[in-house]
């Protein structure tokens, strides 16, 4: 697609993928992100920010931030991806470009612990109240364990593994 060429000319494009006719993925570096978003907004018609999302790649030690833009004229979505360090999850806010980014960033801060410098409201509780653990959407947070410890369980389940039961039932000779 031509837009990818124009982006490549101007910015560092780490990865690109045309998922559908109306959906493109572009990966870039943290430094390039805001110029690229501004460029897409001002010159390419991607006027709208649809959402910001965060993906936890815990194995690689990275957070992926996805900025989903929509061009009302061309009817196209572009998702700009940027990877940040999971240990020091600091990034810059884009709420000056799009006002609704403020709330998305606030949510990501609450759910993943990503810090968006310059976001005026990010410390405020949005969804959780009196949260007492690591940010819950991180992959290393075990929600089942947390729930069972905090909220308990009625009528505990027998947790029988049929396959193991069968193996053992018919398998006396191998057990010892």
């Amino acid at each position: 697609m031509e837009i990818l060429e124009r982006l490549r000319e101007r910015f560092e494009v780490l990865e690109e993928k045309v998922q559908r006719d109306d959906l493109i993925f572009v990966g870039t570096t943290g430094k390039n992100l805001i110029p690229m978003l501004v460029y897409l907004k001002e010159y390419e018609g991607f006027k709208t920010l649809v959402m910001i999302s965060c993906v936890d790649w815990i194995e690689e030690g990275k957070f992926q931030l996805s900025y989903n833009l929509w061009a009302p004229k061309q009817k196209k979505n572009i998702i700009v991806k940027v990877f940040i360090d999971r240990k020091q999850p600091n990034f810059t806010t884009i709420y000056r470009i799009w006002p609704q980014a403020e709330v998305y960033e606030r949510e990501i801060h609450e759910m993943f612990g990503v810090n968006f410098e310059g976001n005026p409201t990010q410390g405020e509780e949005l969804i959780l109240e009196d949260w007492d653990d690591i940010p819950p959407m991180r992959r290393d947070f075990d929600t089942l364990k947390y729930s069972m410890e905090k909220f308990g369980e009625r009528a505990p389940k027998s947790r029988i593994n049929i396959r193991r039961e069968i193996s053992e039932q018919y398998d006396e000779w191998r057990r010892k």
């Binding site: 959780l128 109240e129 009196d130 947390y146 729930s147 905090k150 909220f151 369980e153 009625r154």
Partner: protein, 191 residues
Amino acid sequence: MDKKNYFLDEKPEKLTYGGVFRKIDDWARARSLWVVAYGTGCGSIELRPTFTSRFDAERLGMRMVGTPRQADVLIISGYLTVKTLKRVIRVYEQMQSPKYVVALGACPINGGMYYDSYNAINQLDLYLPVDVWITGCMPRPEAILAGFKRLQELIDSGRADGWKKYIENLDWYRENQRKIIKNWKMPNYNW
């Protein structure tokens, strides 16, 4: 904001009268159940048909009221999140005795779909006394009405005494509630 505690600190006095007055009272009460209009969870979607023309619970003396202070019944419509639980306790404690709690759906019984959710409680009876449990996901209006019929029977026979239990065992309920709600001061928003 002042430091006033918005929750029950002391046990209120019990109802002292009994005998025939109590019976008349129960009879009348069972036929006029006003429900707090608080949709705590997804079950509230089925409360709307229940209380409007298609199923018309008003035939049975039930209607929605906006304020807890005039209400008899609190419906916990499904799952309760930690944040809502605090509001629900507050609503419940604002209601005038005698008051009844009806739990809708599987979630209040044993967690339902959200048994592994970090933000939804699993067993409602630890935090509030529940008089009638209606399972389903969500219970249909017919099931809700059948549940109310059961509640009426219980009130008629004087057995719907969850509110008494709550007052008598306030410490136990408080202890359970405190396990989940750390901050008992009302936040400076909401209310």
